[in-house]
Amino acid sequence: MKEPRIGIFVCHCGLNIGGVVNVPEVVEYAKTLPNVVYAEHYVYMCSEPGQNLIKNAIKDYKLNRVIVAACSPSMHEITFRHVCEEAGLNPYLFEMVNIREHCSWVHSHWPKEATEKAKDLVRMAAARARFLKPLNPMEVKIEPSALVIGGGVTGLTAAINLADRGFNVYLIEKKPFLGGIATQLSKFSLNGKDSREILNPLMERVLNHKRIKVYLNSEVVEVGGYVGNFSVKIKRNPRYINENCTECGKCVEICPINVLDEFNVNLIHRKAIYMPYPEAYPRIYAIDLNACNKCGKCTEICDVKAINLSEKSEILNFKVGVVIIAVGLEAYKPSKEYSFGEHPDIITQLQLERLLSTSGPTGGELLRPSNGKKPESVVFILCVGSRTNERPYCSRVCCSSSIKNAYEIKKRNPDVEVYVLYRDIRTYGKNEEYYTLAREIGVNFIRYSLDKLPKVVKDNEKLKVSVFDVGLNTTLEIPADLVILAEALIPRSDLSILASKFGISLGPDGFLKEAHPKLKPVETVVNGVFIAGGCQGPKSVSESVVQACAAAAKASILLAKGVIKVEPIVALVNEDKCIGCGTCIEVCPFKAVEKDEIGVAKINTALCKGCGVCAASCPEKAITVMHFTDEQITAQTIAAIREVIKT
């Protein structure tokens, strides 16, 4: 191995470093270190003249290791690696030392000590640099297909846009039917069209699109790979019914099982064999495995032999270039707030949507769940479960939805008294019109404050809402036939598991975290994984559609590229030392280790992120991480505590 010839370049970074650390002193010190044949300083190493200094020195002094002591590697490691490359030196023979964020910036009041620390850091870097080896990056092809997880309005839109662009799309949906939460809504906007009228064409297009393959009753089991080459394992649960189904309904009649109908938010019951609403997509009934007792009556009565109760679940494997996560959100189920659960006429907004829907249990007529009669007085309570200590965020769309519904109720029945109890009315943008129209049509708005919450009280079978009206400074007692709680929109309970499968995280509000809140709302920190719609945060149908298109656009750019470069900082197994104990396989957070045919650990270098946990855990010291070898790190550590190591 060639004798290391180290060049050390210390940056002043204007006054950022030079104003605290005595840079020339550090350079002089560097010159005393073993194997250092050249050292100098410059005001801005990352500038062109600074870079040229390095390049010239590499040539003139035949340097085969370069150290730049400057800012954080996250700023300029790539810059200086390129400089080395351009000068003919392998970029991984470069080491960066952070004497700014880790030294001058944090010890700005102790220049002497900071200078000593800078010297220590440089000495450590030199110790490591001696043991650096040249490495080469890998180029990988991008699979020209996409996986969209979620078959609601967001996932459907993303799938269509990618497919129209010319890419193959696999769309997976956990439920047996498409459409998500949007199918439960009556309308998306005030005086808007019926939700089914808007969603049906979208679902038709997806099911008939030649480039989209839809997998229902399916969920993600395992994720592997990296951008351009994700391998996703899907479990497809059985539906038990095939396309022969004519929706004749005989099976539903004969099914003996009754369960709560979650599509209608438990307002009514359904059978174990069901379709959530008439003419859902696809037009095939489904069997709820949790409810079904496998009695077989449906199979017998089916004329077209569409039912097979022995259908098994299957595992499918997809290889895709990009993933768009569009799994949506859930509606909060109030626990004790406002006596929810104690009276059938205290309902949530989502339940109201079902009562107002033409596809719902009352055919769209607003009737009280308790007695089936029309309500004469309706009270909405906003911010139920949102803007609290337990859940500080605002659910964004409930003000607009509630007011849209309040208006609808009043419009249909001008004699009904409608009240909206609120903290702030957040009908932002053009939705302010909803608030104006609602007031004009005679909806009453009453402001309450967080320290004096309204109370819903049972008076025999009647309900009464008492609220302290801040404006009037009085407590009002409102008799209510129907109380609607505008519940929060919450992240799915399985969101954190799904996120961890992809290596992305959740924000403090529990929704998926984007790469940059302002400029990258649909990208994540994992290249190739995008998010859109309700899983990123509560939003309206329109806003979800916008994010779906945006995610499709970002994904398209990647897919169209065709190739991507991957860093060579990966783990390597010494097969002679490996005893096949499997510890590395267990501890690897990226599932990058497997046992090969002879039982020895094998690293998938494409998946490996070079974190080093395997190397640290291996009892036989059989694993090395390229660019972070034991030799390199040990040398660096020893140099930290001892003055100089003689090689």
Binding site: N52, Y393, C394, P521, C549
Partner: protein
């Protein structure tokens, strides 16, 4: 056969930008001593026609096969000089630029001797490299899909970049002399408190450098013909009276211009010359003459060394053919003078939120100091008034401007950080902190920063003529009383109105406008498409919204436009 390098060195004075610090004569003489250099000379403006002709002639006369131009940053003129040497028959990659301006004269202006030595070093390095340069050929790929983007703010910029990154030819038209829009005027953005310019300007530079984007600034779309999927668009390039191909952005003209007028970019709080760039990071960095205020003294013309001033310049009509159009014309700010009861325009210490942004900004009229414009004093009691020009049926602006609650909270926090012992009040009707992280930001402002939120509309403001202080009369809905508050600075949270371009553009393209004056999209499931095929919208053209929503719509519109184009229209 490797030929012997014959290097020509051309040192630019760049007016006084370089020559005012570096001894260009000595530099040129030094160049002559370097290996392989057979010719060296210097000139006032190398990028000008005269300078370029010098280079071309020298190439021919002295049979140069390598050219070095020691001047400004390659970012400005490398393409210029590459073209220049090409025209003289030399491969463009046999050109080397040495930056002795940004990397030398501009940063070492106090040390002329050392700067000259450094310039010599830089030149020597360039010569060493140039000797080893090899001819290269550019790789051309055909681009046949074309789109027009109207509007160069954050939304238009993102649409253009999305389209260009997908391989489409983009024509981006911006009516102002620079792209950047209103986001360039902001100090920090909510709720992350990112520096607005820091996240915007790299995108602006990306636009200017993207090979697939053709940028037309100080230009407007005036006409469209043709049919769906096959639009012939006429763009009017307004006369800058400055030749963009010659202007180097050196600024000598502005130094000599005798006319000062309020700078629109700083909301009129700072002055600019009649010949100007709107802000230092403008893209493109080319001067423009505000002909309405110009007195035609022609001082600029006399001092411009590249002869870039052209008072005979006429407006140009350019024709382009595109298959899809994305409209991203943004918004205007509500004119607060329309609400007489707040005294804007009469009371000096009643300012708008955008004026406050400029005061907060370190590059603004007060270098980031919050002071009263009447007397320069530091305010002790500041009041924000929400919904000025929004949610107001009296003036026909019934919609909500979406961002004012949040920007007021953000600015209130920044003021609290800047000033000690300042009391800040926000008068609101509904506090609309609806987005991701918004409510948490609002609560932080209230609890950690002690900003006082008062629910109640402000009825009127009166001024104490002697002190310039203001008395706010309002209804406190929480306490059910009518009250007054005296403060020394009032900030009106003005709403976002439709851009003045909306009506004109809707006429040209036959597009629908809603009651609020914004463009109308097709429906809720097609939020960025217009009812006319091939035309799309994004950002505040449709309705007031914040930056993340605008950015998402920009990508969405780009996706829709591309799918429209590839599907054959």
């Amino acid at each position: 056969m490797i030929e012997e390098p014959r290097i020509g060195v051309f040192v630019c004075h760049c007016g006084l930008n370089i020559a005012g610090v570096i001894d260009v004569e000595a530099l040129t003489e030094y160049a002559k001593t370097l290996p392989h250099v057979v010719y060296a000379e210097h000139n006032r403006y190398m990028c000008a026609d005269t300078g370029q002709n010098l280079i071309k002639e020298a190439i021919k006369k002295y049979k140069l096969n390598r050219v070095i131009v020691a001047a400004c940053s390659p970012r400005l003129h490398e393409p210029t000089f590459r073209r220049c040497v090409s025209e003289a028959g030399l491969n463009p990659y046999l050109l080397e630029m040495a930056n002795i301006r940004e990397h030398c004269s501009w940063c070492h202006s106090d040390y002329p001797e050392k700067a000259t030595e450094k310039a010599k070093d830089i030149l020597r390095m360039a010569v060493a490299r140039a000797a080893l340069l090899q001819p290269l050929t550019t790789i051309k790929s055909p681009v046949t899909k074309r789109a027009l983007v109207i509007g160069g703010g954050i939304t238009g910029i993102n649409v253009a970049l999305s389209l260009a990154n997908m391989g489409f030819e983009v024509h981006l038209v911006e009516k102002n002399p620079s792209i950047g829009g209103h986001m360039a005027q902001l100090d920090k953005t909510f709720p992350t408190l990112d520096c607005s310019a820091c996240i915007l300007t790299p995108k602006m530079v990306d636009v200017s450098r993207h090979p697939n984007i053709k940028l037309y600034t100080y230009s407007e779309v005036v006409n469209v013909e043709g049919y769906v999927g096959n639009y012939k668009v006429r763009i009017l390039k307004k006369p800058r009276y400055v030749d963009e191909s010659k202007c180097t952005g050196c600024g000598v003209c502005a130094e000599h211009c005798p006319i000062e007028v309020p700078n629109e970019f700083d909301m009129g709080l700072k002055l600019r010359k009649a010949i100007y760039v709107p802000f230092p990071q403008a893209v493109p960095l080319k001067y423009t003459i505000d002909i309405d205020n110009c007195i035609k003294c022609k001082a600029c013309e006399r001092v411009c060394q590249t002869k870039a001033i052209d008072f005979d310049q006429k407006e140009e009509i350019l024709k382009i053919y595109v298959e899809a159009i994305v409209i991203a014309v943004g918004f205007n700010v509500f004119d607060a003078e329309k609400l007489k009861e707040y005294g804007y325009g009469r009371f000096k210490n009643v300012i708008t939120s955008l004026e406050l942004e400029r005061l907060l900004n370190a590059a603004g009229p007060t270098c980031g100091h919050i002071i009263r414009l009447s007397d320069g004093k530091v305010p002790k009691r500041i009041a924000f008034i929400q919904c000025v020009g929004s949610r107001d049926a009296r003036i026909g602006k019934t919609y909500c401007s979406s961002v004012c609650c949040m920007y007021a909270v953000k600015n209130a926090m920044l003021i609290k950080e800047h000033l000690e012992n300042v009391k800040v009040y926000i008068f609101y009707i509904d506090l609309r902190a609806y987005g991701k992280g918004f409510e948490e930001f609002y609560k932080r402002a209230e609890k950690e920063f002690g900003i006082k939120f008062i629910c109640g509309r402000v009825a009127r403001i009166e001024e104490d003529y002697k002190t310039g202080n203001l008395k706010i009369m309002f209804e406190n809905l929480d306490e059910g009383v009518i009250s007054t508050l005296e403060c020394d600075l009032v900030i009106l949270s003005v709403g976002l109105t439709p851009s003045e371009e909306t009506i004109r553009i809707s006429d040209i393209f036959g597009l629908k406008i809603d009651d609020c004056g914004f463009f109308m999209s097709k429906n809720e499931i097609n939020p960025v498409e217009s009812t006319t095929q091939g035309i799309f919208f994004a950002g505040c053209s449709l309705a007031p919204k914040d930056i993340p929503d605008s950015v998402a719509e920009a990508s969405a519109a780009a996706m829709k436009a591309i799918n429209y184009i590839v599907s054959g229209g």
